[in-house]
């Protein structure tokens, strides 16, 4: 069954993917697993996905697709070789169809986004009613995750299920300090893990992603998660969250540069801010999102944080990167950062504190500068890393003795600060004239976000 929306020719699909679509014909559910050298964990993830499909959706035809970025450790073989001993799982239902496992190398820019594109395209061609994407490095995934991410899409009419995890208070700091507060303040929905990485999607949502033309930028890499979440929220698709329990995963690829990752994620947020300007300008507060699942407390892996090293980086950056920060930051903000950095002159971190308001101003001024100075975007965003480390260190020092609920309250306070400063962001945004609207949207899209806004308020 082909999708109704007219989509661009999928020239990025490898030949064997076409053959597989032809052979499988049609599927109700697609589970996508992007990977790159994850042989150690992907077998477990694949088995969990298969168990979830057989236990919770035994009457539906399902396919597991691994989209691989050229792994050299046998990741693809691990997917194809993974076997599920169904008899030990006490499955109450007998599946009507076998779960197909497929693995393909994706073409194009190396990155998670390119991997997703292949999965979405195949899911669309197979006419899948629902699609789940899950990370391949997960150690805490259970079969229930598939149900929790998919059921709201298949049975409650949602288009996008975002994950809601229990995480260690020092885990997911890009989410906690930048992406969640900014996305919430801008678009008005409290999606707690907008870059969680594990999502449930409807066919309508998939086709919307596939119809876009901006798959080549940050969306092809680490920017994909926030790209997907923002499009879903800003264009008025029905969004919900599902509580999945703990998120335990392998550490990120050690070769991955933090600065590069931050650049891709934050660059993606800023690019989408430009595109959805009419939507976020008209949104003045935030509201909760439907949460499925049963929240419970879980034990989490301890996370060691070296605040001394982070503050050392910030202290050095305050001397060496000041000129680069000056491209983005207002003189008053720069001066205040200088004052904060000066508290480290004695070599002790005791008095160090980068407060919520200063941090929110830093992020917002970077967003404005991103719009105003396209030629210097790369430099500015890469210089943000040291400021981000300072903010994380400050957060860690403050929350050292706090319990997870109290940490959530701290994050809530930061979000409220972002929301409070939003009017000043809007007035500054209006003073700065940016380039013409991005041509990222596909044909037939809402021209100015007005449609999306109406749907948001529904």
């Amino acid at each position: 069954m082909q999708a109704e929306t007219k989509l661009p020719a999928p020239d990025f699909l490898p030949e064997e993917a076409f053959d597989a679509v032809y052979k499988v014909g049609q599927a109700d559910i697609v589970v996508g697993i992007p990977s790159y050298n994850n042989a150690g964990t992907i077998g477990h993830v694949t088995r969990a996905a298969q168990a979830g499909l057989e236990r919770y959706f035994p009457q539906l035809k399902a396919v597991i697709i691994n989209s691989d970025g050229g792994s050299s450790d046998g990741t693809r073989q691990a997917v194809l070789a993974s076997r599920l001993d169904s008899s030990r799982l006490l499955l109450l239902n007998t599946p009507l169809f076998p779960v197909h496992r497929l693995s393909f190398p994706y073409h194009g820019i190396p990155g998670k986004g390119s991997a997703f594109r292949l999965i979405f395209q195949m899911a669309s061609m197979l006419g899948a009613r629902g699609c789940v994407v899950i990370d391949s490095d997960l150690r805490s995934i259970t079969p229930e995750w598939i149900d929790l991410l998919l059921r709201p899409v298949l049975h409650a009419g949602f288009d996008f299920t975002a994950p809601f995890y229990q995480r260690h208070k020092y885990d997911g700091t890009i989410t906690n300090s930048i992406v969640y507060p900014l996305t919430r303040a801008l678009y008005g929905l409290r999606v707690r893990q907008p870059i969680g990485g594990d999502f449930g999607l409807s066919l309508r949502m998939l086709n919307r992603y596939l119809s876009r033309r901006d798959w080549q930028g940050n969306a092809a890499r680490y920017g994909i998660d926030i790209w997907m979440t923002t499009i879903a929220i800003a264009e008025g698709f029905r969004v919900c969250q599902s509580f999945l329990g703990a998120k335990l995963h392998d550490p990120k690829d050690p070769g991955t540069d933090l600065s590069e990752m931050l650049h891709q994620v934050v660059g993606s947020v800023f690019a989408l801010m430009q595109e959805y300007e009419p939507v976020w300008k008209r949104t003045s507060s935030s509201r909760d999102v439907d949460l499925f699942g049963f929240p419970f407390g879980v034990g989490l892996d301890p996370v060691e944080v070296d605040t001394g090293r982070m503050l050392g980086v910030f202290h050095r950056a305050a001397r060496e990167l000041r000129d680069v920060w000056a491209l983005a930051l207002q003189p008053a903000t720069l001066k205040e950062l200088g004052r904060v950095s000066a508290t480290l002159d004695s070599g002790s971190a005791d008095g160090f504190h980068l407060d919520d308001e200063l941090w929110a101003r830093v992020v917002m001024e970077f967003a404005l500068a991103w719009r105003e100075r396209p030629a210097e975007r790369g430099h500015m965003l890469r210089s943000l890393t040291s400021l981000y480390l300072a903010r994380v260190a400050s957060f860690v020092l403050e929350s050292r003795d706090l319990l997870s609920d109290q940490v959530e309250d701290r994050i809530e306070r930061l979000c409220l600060t972002f929301e409070r400063l939003k009017p000043s962001l809007i007035s500054s945004w209006d003073r700065v004239t940016g380039p013409a609207q991005s041509a990222a949207r596909g044909p037939g899209d809402a021209s100015d976000g007005a449609r999306a806004e109406v749907m948001l308020e529904d």
Partner: protein, 234 residues
Amino acid sequence: MFQLAERIARDTMERLSRLTTAHLPALLAALSILLVAWCLAAGMRWLLMRVFRGARIDQFLRRSGIASLLPGGGPVHATQVAARGAYWATLTGGFLLALSAFDTQLTSRMIEWVLLMVPKLFAGAVIMVAGLWASRYLGRSALIWAFNEGIPHSRRISDAVRVVVIFVTVVVAADYLNFARNVFLASFILIIGGAMLAGALALGLGGRKIVERRLESKDSGKTEKPEPAAWKHL
């Protein structure tokens, strides 16, 4: 005594009268040309201010990154700079035209030289501006890269990149203007050659231990444990 003074005064008056008769028309013409040039320059300045403000040239410069060439990164007033530039260029043109009214060999030669050099000087200035922009951009790239990689003295690396790019720009501009071409080219080759040699020596001496360690671990069949990522928890 009285007669001598009278003769001196008469000679002076005669000479003044001759000079005035010979050069007054040219002087008047030159002054008129200067006046017209001043009017034109003022008109040009007014027009450019209006046109550039309408075209939002300041904004374009800020967005293209050219604005960051200005020291201190302060607000850009390219419209004013361009208008003032046009004003003074028109006045200079008027001055040269006024000089030509005297029709002497010296003034003719001056005008000829300026007219020949203006296009070249303009192209040279464009090369210098492009080079300065590139030096800023590449210097900043080097600074951020070195800083994020944790390389010490990232500022010095950035300064070195900036100096090298500026130096290359000066060599190119000098070559284009045919100004001390050999001197600049020779010093460029000497400096780049010296820097390459120093870099090769530093790499060789500094990397010797790393290579030794690698070879030793290869011989003993051990593989080096990768250093844990500093920010993996983030």
